[in-house]
Amino acid sequence: MMKNTSSMNKISSAMSRLSNGRYLVIGVPYFWFLILALVPLLIVLKISLSEMESTSVSSMIDWTNGWPTVKLNFASYMFITTDALYYQTYFSSIRYALMTTVICLIIAYPFAYFMARSPKHIQPTLLMLIMLPFWTSFLLRIYAWKTLLVNNGVINNVLMSIGVIHEPIAMMNTPFSLMVGMVYSYLPFMILPLYANLSKLDMRYLEAAADLGASPFKAFWLITVPLSKAGIVAGSMLVFIPAVGEYVIPELLGGSDTLMIGRVLWDEFFSNNDWPMASAVAVVMILLIMLPMAIYNKSQSEQAESKA
């Protein structure tokens, strides 16, 4: 009996150690998230509801009457809704991000599709080629596009020397150059989840579709595309979300008519030194991105529930 109890104790203490270990493993990333994402976000939210004083933002809690009074200043948010600059910029940010997402999807889908269909032994090489650009600094690659796209850049020079055009095409600082930079930078983030998804697709579904009379084209639309929905959604999220807030690419490749919210943010912080305004702009941007995500997540979980 004695022996039995002591071994039982050993087992239960081992189990509690195990679950402690599990909490630790789960806890660390959550703690990280809390300290480095959620808290800063709350600070930004707090600043956005404050007023700018000469060198710093006003404190939210006022003790002047001996009572703590919470002061919330919605002026920045009011300004965002009234000044056309802001909502036009939001609109164009979302538009450019959407265009980037759609163009990336159109290019990446066939890319990922043929990668997933290529012989198994060359797939790791193809994957590495996708990641190859990451070996060079992002900024350097964007600058390289500049030298390609400017009026006396490589593309214009080559076209003029072979006589296709007689005057340089103005490509730089236009929506075109912006889209080139955005699509170029975000393409791998669309390809990778699509590839991961498509390489798992069971070829027997396509055979079954062909067997039932679907041409390869029909089988693609009716089977491959719906079954790769998860990859399409993941890739689109990975491209769309950072693209909305993109600052560097519009700054370097965009022009005065391709205003994006990242640049407005920068200006508010560093040129106007208006922290509450900049914070409010950031908070609204986060809300704009989170809303469609939340709706999508809700529909997904409802679907999962109806399956169960």
């Binding site: 027997r204 579904y205 055979e207 062909a210 067997d211 039932l212 009379g213 679907a214």
Partner: protein, 371 residues
């Protein structure tokens, strides 16, 4: 050859395969010069172990592979070069390949929609198929919400919905557990016969082939070793490989001593076999004598006569409930298997481990294998 003639029905050939060969990567001969005809309404089984070429042959019938050589005809029309989506052939896939994102109803309707049929006709046909496989209540479910047996029925309904001329079944019961397989086998045959569709089925399970098919082709290394009705293949195998592949068998190596029109005697190390029918062979020829375990009778007493018995020690007893299989070690060192029916509640022959037993059989129990 020995198939029972179906009363006055003239059966025409629906499927004709002429000298089909499939070579993969220029070297591997998966299917080697196979010819066959399947009559309308027949259920034809391709039976063989893995890698014997049965699946490749089936995939060529479906159109997923093109033969390297040879032609395939369906109802007289050469379909060798037609893509799968233009053939009047449907297939029930191994582990079904039901579209996971579509409901049962949409899965069954998939083929009909590709034909561009009007909606009422599609509805009508899908309802009919659902009723046929008794899944009307499950029409709105997704495949993953169904049990294995239900999925199998959806797959069957989907492959029958377009009323194919030829139905291909790839290991139709392979994904089901043993108990379910037995009931499903008969159900499947009943449905196929009700619809009246011609069938080619691929299986590695000889019981499945025997219970479902009207004719079996035993395949090995890409060619047909034997084609015939189930009983024919079982009782009259034409080679050691077929005898060995279909069921259990004891094979004695021997030499023909006496070759008469109505009988032959064959001497092997263990005993002298008296076979009660003539064979195509000659005196002095080396042959194999195949004897099925269930055709051997075990006794404690020495049988009368000089032929068709041998003596050995019981080294193993395997109790199966309905029957018991005894392993008998002969003086030569050869171990033979004998299967005794347990027709009383105590083991009827009363033998146990270490006992000396006599195995004997009658003159019609054996098959002489010349190859």
């Amino acid at each position: 050859m020995a198939t029972a003639p179906k009363a006055n029905i003239v059966r025409e050939d629906l499927l004709r395969v002429e000298g089909v060969t499939k070579i993969f990567d220029g070297a591997v001969k998966a299917v080697d010069n196979v010819s066959l005809t399947v009559a309308t309404g027949e259920i034809f089984a391709l039976l063989g172990g893995s890698g014997c070429g049965k699946s490749t042959l089936l995939r060529m019938l479906a159109g997923f592979e093109t033969p390297t050589k040879g032609r395939i005809f369906l109802a007289g029309e050469d379909i060798t070069d037609l893509p799968p989506y233009k053939r009047h052939i449907n297939m029930m896939f191994q582990s079904y390949a039901l579209f996971p994102h579509l409901s049962v109803w949409e899965n069954i309707a998939f083929g009909l929609k590709r034909d561009g049929l009007p909606n009422e006709q599609i509805n009508e046909q899908v309802e009919k198929m659902l009723a046929l496989v008794q899944l009307t209540k499950f029409a709105k479910r997704k495949p993953h919400q169904l049990s294995g047996g239900q999925q199998q029925r959806v797959a069957l309904a989907r492959s029958l919905a377009k009323r194919p001329k030829l139905l291909l079944l790839d290991e139709p019961l392979g994904a089901l557990d043993k108990k379910l397989r037995e009931t499903t086998q008969l159900e499947l045959v009943n449905i196929i016969e009700e619809v009246g569709v011609t069938c080619v089925l691929v299986t590695h399970d000889q019981e499945e082939a025997m219970t479902m098919a009207s004719r079996i082709a035993v395949m090995n290394e890409g060619y047909f070793m034997q084609v015939g009705a189930p009983d024919e293949v079982y009782e009259m195998p034409n080679s050691r490989q077929v005898a060995d592949f279909i069921g259990n068998v004891n094979i004695f190596d021997g030499v023909i001593e006496e070759d008469e029109a109505d009988h032959v005697t064959i001497r092997s190390e263990e005993c002298v076999h008296y076979v009660g029918h003539g064979i195509s062979g000659h005196t002095g020829m080396s042959v194999g004598v195949a004897l099925r375990p269930e055709k051997i009778l075990l006794t404690k007493e020495k049988p009368a006569g000089d032929y068709n018995w041998c003596m050995g020690e019981v080294t193993e007893m395997v109790y199966f409930g309905a029957h018991t299989t005894y392993h008998l070690k002969l003086a030569s060192g050869k171990v033979i298997k004998a299967q005794e029916l347990n027709n009383t509640r105590d083991l009827s022959c009363g033998l146990t481990w270490g006992d000396t037993a006599y195995a004997h059989w009658n003159e019609h129990a054996m098959v002489v294998l010349t190859q």
